[in-house]
């Protein structure tokens, strides 16, 4: 078992102080040239006081380096956060993104001066279309939920063009859906109809049959679903919804499991969204930036947002096409998160078609390896039919452990941190009680998977022998259990709030 101890930097009786607290009057980390001309700044834009911390360059570097040491990341170890696809981000992609021609290009530059950028976007679009089996892709949406929302707007435009917008007010989602699905549909003005999953963990067809009607605008589906199971009746589902006149939207969050193996276009989906920060390693982190491109069938192409990148064969140049009268319009300033698009494109070229297929195979193999190894561990159970394989992620229920020892999914997740492994997603999907959602991705070697399995087994033993050890965890990390009640009652969200409260926290 790995002995793990995370760095912990303390100062003045608390964890690494805020940079404002390191401030000392007169300390500076810059030298500015003397002003040659007087600059006229309008009075209303001039600030009297600038509350910037006064610290030297050395102090800034050390402060942020200490913080980074107290941070866990994919570069340190496994990150089995289910549904997030926390795969390793190849350094090659980072190198490309920091090139001057990528970092300093400006969206308002004349088209002739950014032909390379436009070409890259055009070709990325084509790759994504090929991967998903769609006719055309728009790269503008900057996040997954944004892509979902855009897809719903396209759905509205489609039904409006056929005079059915007033009638088709409902969007169907499975109860295993990621919360952003119904939220995005609701934001687009739709009513939500939730259908339950059956005992096999798939969409209950009987319920779906009764849920779908002439009022159905679309169904949002993830395949494989959030339980990591392939919807083996997807063709029937698609037929059911199409027969009722609705569209099928594919949530691409789990695309990593079917790359090169299966395509939503072939399953019959009309609209697809991608999470470049998940599947295409661009990378994935709280706050982004991400990218949520949307792909559609030929019939829906005209509704895509403007502008789209087009290629003029005669003049051999790329250009931004705004002449799209049926488009739903702009969904973001400019054309998409360009830096992210560059990395995604580079990743696709790096892997190639064969490589992407191997990615899916390895991702699925790794998840199944973990599943088989953990089946039979005391306290962990699979809610669905365990005879078949899972796809790229597996969901265990810790209900038995909770009932017999008092140790919950949350406790297990936190104890994993003491072994230097990031926690899996817990309490999602909501249809599984005490859920632990494990997605290893293809990046992990067999040795890393074995370490994870060993840690999970050890935690099960600890729960039955000495549950307090698990419930107290983590203790080997920079920060232990948070007082969540206090955090929700007394949130301190900014420096200003902190100052006004006048309290220090260790």
């Amino acid at each position: 078992m790995r002995e793990y101890r995370q760095a912990r930097w303390e100062g003045d009786g608390c964890l690494e102080p805020l940079i404002f607290e390191l401030s000392r009057p007169g300390r500076i980390g810059y030298t500015l040239p003397k002003a040659v001309e007087k600059v006229n700044i309008p009075k209303q834009l001039l600030r009297e006081n600038l509350e910037l911390p006064e610290v030297s360059e050395v102090e800034v570097v050390r402060h942020f380096t200490r913080l980074s040491q107290m941070n866990y990341c994919i570069d340190l170890g496994m990150y089995p956060l289910g549904s997030c696809t926390m795969k390793y981000n190849p350094k090659f992609l980072e190198d490309l993104a920091s090139l001057e021609t990528v970092a300093y290009v400006h969206p308002y530059q004349a088209e002739e001066t950014v032909q390379g950028a436009l070409e890259l976007m055009y070709k990325l679009e084509q790759c994504l279309a090929e991967i998903s089996g769609m006719a055309r892709v728009c790269l503008q949406p900057s996040a997954g939920a944004h892509g979902e929302f855009v897809s719903m707007l396209i759905t509205r435009a489609y039904h409006a063009s056929r005079g059915e917008q007033d009638r088709r007010t409902q969007v169907v989602v499975p109860d295993s859906a990621h919360g952003t699905n119904p939220a995005s549909a609701a934001m687009a003005g739709y009513e939500i109809v939730v259908v339950p999953s059956d005992l096999r963990g798939r969409v209950d067809l009987e319920a779906l049959r009764e849920a779908v009607s002439e009022r159905t605008a679309a169904m949002m589906l993830t395949n494989p679903n959030t339980l990591g199971l392939f919807e083996d009746k997807v063709l029937e589902i698609v037929e059911l919804v199409h027969d009722a006149g609705g569209l099928l939207f594919y949530d691409g969050a789990n695309l990593n499991s079917i790359l090169g193996k299966s395509r939503p276009g072939d399953m019959g989906f009309d609209i697809v969204h991608f999470n470049l920060h998940k599947t295409f390693a661009t990378p994935h982190g709280g706050g982004g930036p991400g990218a949520g491109p949307v792909g559609v069938t030929e019939e829906l192409e005209k509704f895509l947002p403007v502008p789209l990148v087009e290629y003029d064969e005669k003049r051999d140049r790329y250009y931004l096409d705004y002449d799209r009268p049926h488009s739903i319009g702009r969904v973001k300033a400019f054309y998409g998160n360009f830096g992210v698009l560059v990395k995604a494109y580079a990743y696709i070229l790096l892997m190639g078609a064969e490589g992407l297929k191997e990615v899916a195979e390895a991702a699925v193999l790794n998840a199944n390896y973990i599943m088989r190894k953990l089946i039979g561990t005391r306290g962990y159970e699979l809610r669905h039919d365990a005879k078949g394989p899972c796809k790229h992620e597996v969901v265990f229920s810790v209900t038995k452990l909770k009932r017999e020892t008092g140790v919950s999914a949350k406790d297990v997740a936190k104890r994993l941190l003491d072994f230097g492994i990031h926690a899996p997603t817990y309490y999602f999907p909501p249809i599984v009680e005490e859920a632990l959602m494990i997605e290893p991705t293809e990046s992990e070697s067999k040795e890393e998977l074995d370490k994870f399995v060993a840690a999970m087994k050890r935690i099960s033993e600890e729960a039955y022998k000495d549950p307090e050890v698990v419930r107290r965890a983590p203790t080997a990390t920079a920060i232990g259990r948070l007082d969540e009640v206090k955090a929700s009652r007394e949130p301190i969200l900014s420096w200003r709030m902190y100052k006004s409260i006048g309290r220090r926290h260790a």
């Binding site: 109860d175 609701a186 739709y190 009513e191 939730v194 339950p196 009987e206 319920a207 779906l208």
Partner: protein, 369 residues
């Protein structure tokens, strides 16, 4: 040879279709009969007994005279041992209590009774948890956790218990808190505990009144949606409970009932606390919609506390015009709905999936099992 005690409360449930909030007291019974009500419990008791015919030769049945069990048992084909004395046609709570005590003292393995919360309360007062009890749901108020889902389920539980498979648990005996009800709050009061065999799927859970503030917010969201969907010139039949009350409140109606069925038409209260006949009269020649919610922890959308919405009413309104309301919390307690309209054919038709409104512009397909 197992000894089984049987008590039938012949006036239990008599208030149901007439819209009375129970059958406690002679006054209410007289009123119910005036309104055209007939006895319900004897039929339900016989239905349960029929489910036990298969093991008739291995059960020794003990019961009270005439309509308190003897008649029902003989009608079905049992040869019961009859004990005790009653004045036929004038049975009271005291008779129930005496019966319970006598059957217990005779050493029965279990007491089977047909009645409602009132009957459960009487038995509880008489014998406490000194003998296991199973209730055949036949009353109007059935909040207690001692009732089987329906008469044939009661028979099933008894067989499983007598032949050794089911454990016992303490089940709440509840009834409407009269005090709270007068203040407009639906609150079930705990009266005591009875010992009952436990089979998760077939025994009702305890009826819980609205006990979370979050619940209130969710109900308000549902109510807003419902009111937006309401159309003019349609009669809306609002079932009992706090969720449907939220709908009336959203409409600005102050004096709708909590426990009864009210009618709303053109966004105003058309009639309050109606019975089956009044409903049928009101919807004559009009479009109508039934709005109900599963009552508390039981999951019943028809058959518990809203018997005024009878099979006749449901058939006239039409299956497609039933709106079921349930907050997500309630669905966690009862993920499956149940129906017990009294018409087995209709119950069968209602089974499947029904779209249940769970929030503002949000609904879920819930199984009716």
């Amino acid at each position: 040879m197992h000894k089984l005690g049987l008590i039938v409360n012949p006036i239990a449930g008599i208030g149901g279709r007439a819209g009375l909030k129970g059958s406690d007291g002679e006054e209410i019974v007289r009123k119910a009969i005036e309104l055209g009500a007939g006895p319900v419990a004897p039929k339900r008791a016989m239905e349960a007994l029929r489910g036990l015919l298969a093991v008739k030769s291995r059960i020794s049945l003990f019961t009270y005279p005439h309509e308190m069990g003897e008649d029902e048992a003989k009608e079905v084909g049992f040869s019961p041992n009859v004990v005790g004395k009653i004045i036929t046609g004038h049975t009271t709570a005291d008779d129930t209590k005496r019966a319970a005590r006598e059957l217990r003292d005779l050493g029965v393995d279990l007491i089977l009774f047909a009645g409602g919360d009132g009957t459960a309360r009487d038995i509880c007062e008489a014998v406490g948890n000194s003998v296991p009890v199973v209730g055949i749901p036949a009353g109007v108020k059935m909040h207690s956790a001692v009732f089987a889902v329906d008469p044939s389920a009661a028979a099933g539980i008894i067989m499983k218990f007598l032949w050794g498979e089911l454990p016992l648990r303490e089940a709440e005996v509840m009834d409407i808190d009269e005090e709270a009800y007068r203040q407009g709050r639906l609150s079930a009061k705990l009266y005591g505990y009875l010992l009952t065999p436990y089979e998760p799927n077939l025994v009702q859970g305890v009826k819980e009144a609205s006990w979370m503030d979050i619940e209130r917010d969710q109900q308000a969201a549902i109510a807003k949606y419902i009111v937006e969907e309401m159309k003019p010139d349609v009669v809306y039949i609002l079932g009992p409970g706090t969720t449907t009350k939220a709908v009336s409140e959203e409409l600005g109606i102050q004096d709708s009932t909590l426990l009864g069925v009210d009618l709303v038409h053109n966004y105003k209260l058309l009639a309050r606390d109606v019975n089956e006949r009044q409903i049928l009269r009101a919807i004559e020649g009009k479009s109508a919609v039934i709005i109900v919610s599963p009552i508390g922890g039981q999951g019943f959308i028809f058959g518990r506390g809203n018997q005024q919405i009878s099979p006749e009413v449901i058939r006239r309104v039409g299956k497609n015009n039933i709106w079921v309301l349930a907050t997500p919390q309630k669905l966690m307690l009862t993920p499956t709905f149940r129906v017990d309209t009294g018409d087995a054919e209709l119950d069968r038709e209602l089974r499947g999936y029904i779209r249940t409104i769970t929030g503002y512009r949000e609904s879920r397909m819930v199984r009716v099992g």
